[in-house]
């Protein structure tokens, strides 16, 4: 009679043996990690939780001054502050997911070398933390937009706004997917870690964060911009909540496919690396 083993440790794991069931068993750890991230983030700071919202508020003010007032870029006729605020809040979700998860292995080497748990727990908790962060900031956006609306500013909320949960999730998953690919590669090549910082800034200018896609007249340039998987997401959010920008449905379709592929590849590489990363990190 063959004995049923709880676990078998072998040198190589099958490529598709992702063990997501185990991840589910550790869901308590994911939530505790998320709780920890929130609790410890701004401990011993004067402004405390206010920091969650100060960053996007001020970034938007800067954007408004630099790109709106000085450069005079169009915001499609909607209030400038709202235009930049929704842009930086949603971009913030993607970029923080990407940068935080890209440090999974290098940042947790100490912990990972001492105890086993499904390594995906770490980036997943990080991504959930960033979604929570986003929800707080987005709540703030809604309050500010209500204030703007009540004081007579003109903008419209369209039905596309109903897609927000899906878009937010996709944005987080895209950041997570890219992040874990980078974190898997940084176990051996530290160059990528340096690249992440400036890569994100670079990517921001390739996405309609501080400008409107409508102001791009060249068709080729517009297509190129929209092939960036983050662009259609930003556009849809802005269209839903402000009525500005466009609704690039086809590009959103492409973006969904890209997200799925990136996430899949990310999980595969991550899964392959996690077993022996300790020997190379």
């Amino acid at each position: 009679m063959e004995k049923q083993w709880t676990a078998v440790i072998r040198p190589k794991r099958k490529l598709l043996d992702l063990n997501l069931k185990e991840l589910w068993q550790y869901r308590d750890l994911i939530w505790l990690n998320v709780g920890r991230n929130f609790k410890t983030r701004y401990k011993q700071t004067v402004l405390g939780p206010l920091w969650f919202v100060i960053q996007p508020l001020f970034t938007s003010v800067i954007h408004m001054l630099v790109f709106g007032t000085i450069a005079g870029l169009s915001t499609d006729g909607v209030p400038r502050y709202l235009f930049y605020l929704i842009g930086s809040v949603s971009w913030g979700l993607f970029s923080s997911c990407l940068s935080a998860t890209s440090e999974t292995f290098t940042g947790n080497a100490g912990l990972f070398s001492k105890v086993y748990f499904p390594r995906l727990v770490s980036p997943v908790s990080t991504a959930i933390t960033q979604i929570g962060n986003f929800l707080i900031q987005f709540g703030l956006y809604l309050i500010i937009s209500l204030v703007f609306f009540l004081s007579g500013n003109k903008f419209s909320v369209t039905w596309v706004a109903l897609l927000t949960p899906l878009i937010v999730l996709q944005m987080a998953l895209l950041g997570l997917g890219l992040g874990i690919i980078i974190s898997s590669l940084t176990t051996k090549y530290r160059d990528l870690q340096v690249f992440v910082g400036f890569g994100i800034t670079f990517l921001m200018y390739l996405s309609p964060v501080v400008y409107s896609s409508r102001s791009i007249k060249s068709h080729g340039l517009y297509t190129a911009l929209m092939l960036n998987p983050v662009s259609p997401l930003l556009e849809l959010l802005r269209h839903g909540w402000l009525g500005a920008g466009s609704t690039p449905w086809m590009f959103w379709g492409i973006s969904l496919i890209v997200t799925a592929v990136v996430l899949f590849i990310g999980v595969l590489i991550f899964n392959k690396i996690e077993k022996n990363f300790l020997d190379t990190v």
Binding site: K3, T6, R10, K12, L32, L111, N276, L278
Partner: protein
């Protein structure tokens, strides 16, 4: 016990290979440079001058074919010198890193404690850390909930449980961490010297707790330590590792004697003290011990009933009366010292070299490995005892018992010294 159903862990042909030298240049550019240079048959630009290029076949086997079957409820100790592969084995078992070859089959939930307080967050309170650490070690929130009171009691930190752990003393910190680990529900526990925490009382408490869970709940424990006394207290089976292989697997006492007999150097027969440092300048001023030799032996191993014979060479730098020899004998693993009664053997005159021969009855010592440092003692003119020379060097010898009569002495159970028999008083 040979039933397959009772197996908790089965290890088959487990190997772990490490490549020597730096792995990669650390940067993508560096790796590409090295790769390109090797392709063209040129020298690797990233190697330091004089450094050897480690080829693919230059590897190090941290584990070289481990086969081990552990049954449920066994408390197994793993001992061996640094670099023997103990920690690598535990790392593979706890799935922190993967093996190169072989397989491990595990039956039952397993938790490992390679370090106490893994994943503690300094900003969080004790209570929050219990939940977090519990979850990292594989407990669900509900499990922690049901045990939190026990954990807090065990940790002896109730008063501070809602204070961030960064304000804790290091002792409180490890106590709290161990308390969480000790309340894990898993059937198999892997521990790497974690018992070396806290004060003596807490260490004992931890050991008792481990003994308790193993005996009453039938848990399997794997314990790696350099502390032989905890191995003795906790384990009922012991494995000795050496160079990535298991060289012994069996009862604890035999394992420990193999381990300590194997500690890298032999029991020498003769010692030269002319260049050995003395702990104090004054020592060696009056008489100077030049050498020590066990007589008629090629290894310092003695049958319990035979007398230890040795000679001591002395340079007399002053004239001193009534020299006495004092040995403080210690055991290799338990530091219980024994000394012998002093007896004057000679007086020396300035400027002469002597070689004295001695005979020493060691039948009171239990079998085991011992070491001592020789001291030359004499009374000064005020009648006080004074140490004249004390070279800092341990002289090792092993006592064996070829024909145990009655009970055979085991140092760990009966102590190292056997006193004279208890006399019956006839009325």
């Amino acid at each position: 016990m040979e039933n397959e159903k009772d197996i908790a862990i089965k290890i088959e042909g487990l190997k772990k290979k490490y490549r020597l030298g730096t792995i990669g240049g650390g940067t993508l550019v560096g790796d590409l440079q090295s790769f390109w240079a090797r392709k063209r048959g040129k020298q690797d630009p990233n190697l330091k001058i004089g450094e050897k290029a480690y080829e693919k076949n230059e590897t190090f086997m941290a584990l070289d074919g481990i086969d081990l079957t552990i049954y449920k409820g066994e408390r197994i100790g793993i001992i061996g010198h640094n670099g023997a592969g103990k920690s690598t084995l535990l790392k593979i078992l706890s799935r922190v890193t993967g093996p190169t070859d072989g397989a491990v089959y595990i039956d039952g939930r397993m938790s490992s404690m390679l370090e106490v307080g893994t994943g503690f967050n300094r900003e969080l309170t004790g209570r929050e850390n219990i939940y977090l650490n519990g979850a990292i070690l594989g407990m669900t929130r509900a499990e922690v909930n049901s045990k939190i009171e026990q954990i807090i009691d065990f940790s002896e930190c109730r008063q501070f449980i809602d204070t961030p752990v960064k304000r804790y003393s290091s002792g409180m910190y490890v106590k709290l961490a161990f308390a969480v680990a000790a309340h894990l529900d898993s059937e198999i526990l892997i521990m790497d010297e974690v018992l070396a925490v806290g004060d003596m009382a807490f260490q004992k408490k931890c050991l008792d707790k481990m003994n308790d869970v193993s005996r009453t709940e039938g848990r399997t424990i794997l314990y790696v330590s350099h502390n032989m006394s905890t191995i003795r207290q906790l384990c009922d089976r012991c494995v000795v590792m050496e160079h990535g292989k298991i060289i012994f697997d069996g009862d604890v006492e035999n394992a420990i004697s193999i381990y300590s007999g194997n500690s890298g150097f032999e029991n020498l027969v003769s010692y030269d003290f002319t260049k050995t440092p003395r702990p104090h300048k004054r020592l060696g001023d009056g008489v100077f011990i030049t050498d020590f030799t066990f007589a008629e032996k090629d290894k310092a191993v003695f049958e319990r009933r035979e007398n230890m014979r040795f000679s001591v060479g002395i340079d007399a730098k002053k004239s001193i009366n009534d020299l006495k020899l004092l040995f403080v004998i210690k055991s290799s693993d338990i530091k219980v010292g024994v000394s012998q009664t002093l007896e004057a053997f000679a007086s020396v005159t300035e400027g002469k070299h002597y070689s004295f021969e001695f005979e020493f009855d060691i039948s009171n010592l239990a079998p085991g490995r011992y070491f001592f440092t020789p001291n030359i003692v004499a009374c000064d003119n005020l009648g006080r005892y004074m140490i004249y020379d004390h070279p800092v060097c341990d002289i090792y010898f092993t006592v064996i018992d070829k024909h145990p009569e009655g009970i055979s002495l085991i140092a760990s159970r009966h102590g190292n010294v056997m006193l004279n028999p208890i006399k019956y008083i006839e009325k």
